[in-house]
Structure formats: structure tokens, C-alpha cells
Symmetry: C2
Subunit: 227 residues, 2 copies
């Protein structure tokens, strides 16, 4: 692109190109999964990758992330958050490119991902069983998982995965899927109450084998951090 410069009249900048990549996480059958597409040609043929692409000169990064996710995964209207900008020198064999990663945690039952002709497939894949990935997408996913695990400790980011009213056991299952391990019930409850994100309702979940369990709801069903 051309940049006016105070010393020369104009100057052509030869720097990195800018891409975005989107990490869409969901919990499926108790496992943390990420949405991947399989590349149809070029140097990364048959490898799997996050939905991503080049940022156009007339788009902000947020817009580019939304547009690319919509075009390549058929997903609209998702609120994503900027995660980190990756810039290893050889992260793309086709040329120098920095990539701004975006992420969201979603209820996969509400999405119907479909991709474009260039990709061979689009699938949810478990974090612990990832196929061979193109670019630095393994590194991005690791970073995203780490951020997600940190975020459940001080936000209500899981609200999208739970019904309006839920038991602490249901909530714990979501936390365990994200953490990737079992959590001690007493510690979990102590931790969750200390976050002050929940409101106790006067209702109970009945009709199950166990004794009725209290129902809770989030103070807000939009992203909220602990005090």
C-alpha cells in the first residue's frame, strides 16, 4: 500500500500481509472441540485449518473475522473476541503474513457449519485428538484453549452453553469439559460461589433419581467478569 511520507512524496511499504483466523470452540459429548476445515489444494492440501483468510483494505479486523467465518463456515452473527496476533516469520509458506486470531465459545447445536468448494470438509474436532494442521494453527489452538481455561476462572463465558436455569452439577460438567479433567465437587462449588456470577433461584430440578437439585442462573447472560 502507499503511505505518504514526510520526507519522500510517497513510499511503498513492503511488510507482512494481514490475515485473521477464527477459533470456534464448543463442547460436544463432554469434550472440548474446535471447528476445522480441510484444505482443498495448494501447499497445505488435505491439511486441516481454522477458518481464516486475508483482511481486505476496507475491513476492520472484527469485520474481517465475521466475514471470513460467514463465507468459509456459513456461520453468521457470532460474537467473537480478539485473542492474539501471531507473527512467526515462516508461519505461511506462501509469503509473510501476520494473523489476528479471534475466538468464541458456542453452543454447537445452534450452528450448522458448511464450507465452500475450496475446502474438502468442515468438522468439529476434539482438542485432544487434532489432525495435522496447516500454518501455526496448532499453536493458535493451544493458546486459545489456555485463554479459555483462564477465562472460566473469572468470567461467565460459559453462559452460552447452559440453559437459562441449571444445576451446579450441569455447570461443573461444562467446566470439566473445558478444563479437560475432573474437578473436585466441593472445590468447584466454593470457587463458583466466590466468583459471585450466579443467582440462586427458588426452584429445584425434580423428577430425577437423586434428591432434587437447586437451580441457578447467571446474573447476566452476556460476558461479565468477576468483581
Amino acid at each position: 500500500m502507499k503511505i505518504q511520507n514526510t520526507k519522500s512524496k510517497s513510499k511503498l511499504i513492503i511488510g507482512p500481509a494481514v490475515a485473521v483466523d477464527t477459533l470456534i470452540f464448543a463442547i460436544r459429548e463432554g469434550k472440548l472441540c474446535v471447528l476445522l476445515i480441510q484444505i482443498g489444494g495448494g501447499p497445505y492440501e488435505n491439511k486441516w485449518a481454522l477458518p481464516g483468510g486475508i483482511v481486505q483494505v476496507d475491513e476492520t479486523l472484527d469485520q474481517a473475522a465475521k466475514n471470513i467465518l460467514n463465507k468459509k463456515a456459513g456461520i453468521e452473527g457470532l460474537h467473537m473476541e480478539q485473542l492474539y496476533t501471531f507473527s512467526d516469520l515462516n508461519r505461511d509458506v506462501r509469503g509473510r503474513m501476520v494473523s489476528v486470531a479471534y475466538f468464541a465459545l458456542v453452543d454447537s447445536d445452534k450452528l450448522k457449519p458448511k464450507t465452500i468448494d475450496y475446502y474438502k470438509a468442515i468438522e468439529w474436532r476434539e482438542i485432544d485428538q487434532l489432525p495435522a494442521l496447516a500454518f501455526d494453527h496448532k499453536k493458535m489452538i493451544n493458546y486459545g484453549v489456555e485463554r479459555l481455561r483462564a477465562k472460566i476462572e473469572y468470567s461467565n463465558i460459559v453462559y452460552a452453553l447452559l440453559p437459562k436455569e441449571f444445576t451446579l452439577t450441569e455447570m461443573q460438567m461444562v467446566y470439566e469439559a473445558i478444563a479437560g479433567n475432573k474437578i473436585d465437587k466441593r472445590n468447584f462449588r466454593k470457587k463458583i460461589f466466590s466468583l459471585e456470577l450466579l443467582i440462586e433461584t427458588n426452584k429445584e430440578r425434580k423428577g430425577q433419581k437423586n434428591r432434587p437439585a437447586k437451580l441457578y442462573r447467571f446474573k447476566k447472560r452476556e460476558l461479565m467478569f468477576t468483581a
Copy 2:
């Protein structure tokens, strides 16, 4: 830059250029300050800005941030953290540019900032009394301050601003400078102990008017988050 494409032989990408900007925060006379340079020419002449510049094709973002801070502010070897990537369409009147902001909290007594000929001045300026700023640097600083305020709640990021051993009163003064307001002493102590970042030494600060105060140190003098 040229990008090989699977369909055409090659393709010229006309996207945003990539810059980095560095937010260097310090506490001076009890006030949170940021390091600014005054621009010497061009459309932003006389405005103040964060030290920043274009990312070269052979630099990672981390390297670019270090190189630019060194070149434009004479500061070497600082550990900075990536903050956020800003991409408003018209953030730079000279052309489309995204900028990756980096930040650090430093002991300003240990730095001797000096700038290059193109800039008229380099100065620490109080967050609450910023001059007119170029680009979207006001927005970047606001975001950086917000992140810094959040971070003191769950990390030991202030370690660089305190001596090896310090009293809780000294620590509270640092927190108050960053928060921009007074903090209740009892709440502060309760909060700090809950973070489990400190170790109590067996020593006391003597020789002052008040009764001797216990000395504490950080478990680690490198960035550490709460459990």
C-alpha cells in the same frame, strides 16, 4: 507482497500495512504516566504519540516492538507484552494501517529515554493529563490502562516497581497510583493476601515515626498469575 495462490500463479495483496505501538507505563510522583514522543512533521506535526512504527517483512511483532522502542525511545531489553491489535479504518490519515499495541509497566528511574531527530521531545505524561494525541493513541492508552488495572487484581505485575522487600503500605501506594484512587486499607490487605503472591519475611521496617511495619516480598520477581 506476493502470495502464491493455488488458482492464479501469483497475486498481489493490497491489504492494510502493519505497525506496532508501545505503551510504556510508569509511576512518577504517585501518578500513573505513559511515555510519549512529540511528532516533528507531517500531518500529525506537534501532536504527541506513543513510540511506534512499521513492521518490517523480516521481523516478528515482538522483535519490531523492541527494535522500534529502542530506536525511537532509546530503551533496550524491556519485556513487553502484546496488548491488542487496533484496526479502525481511518486510524492513520497517511494510509490503511493496523497496529499491534505492546505494553510494559516499568521503573522509570531505571530508564533514560531519548528520541531521534524526527521527534521534538520525549516525555513521561500523566494518564489524567494527556496532551492531544495522534492516531488512535488515546484509545490505545485507555485500553492499556484498563488492562493494567485488571491485571493488578490477579498478577504480581507491580513487582518491577517495588524493592525486593517492601511494606504493605508501599505496595498499596503503587496500587492506588494505578487505580487512580484511594483504596481502603483493610480491603486492600484482604485482597492482596487472597492473591497469595506474597511471602512474609521476618523483618520489619524500623526507624520511622510509625510503629515498625512488616516487610514482604513477592514469591517470584517475574510475571506470575494467581492460582
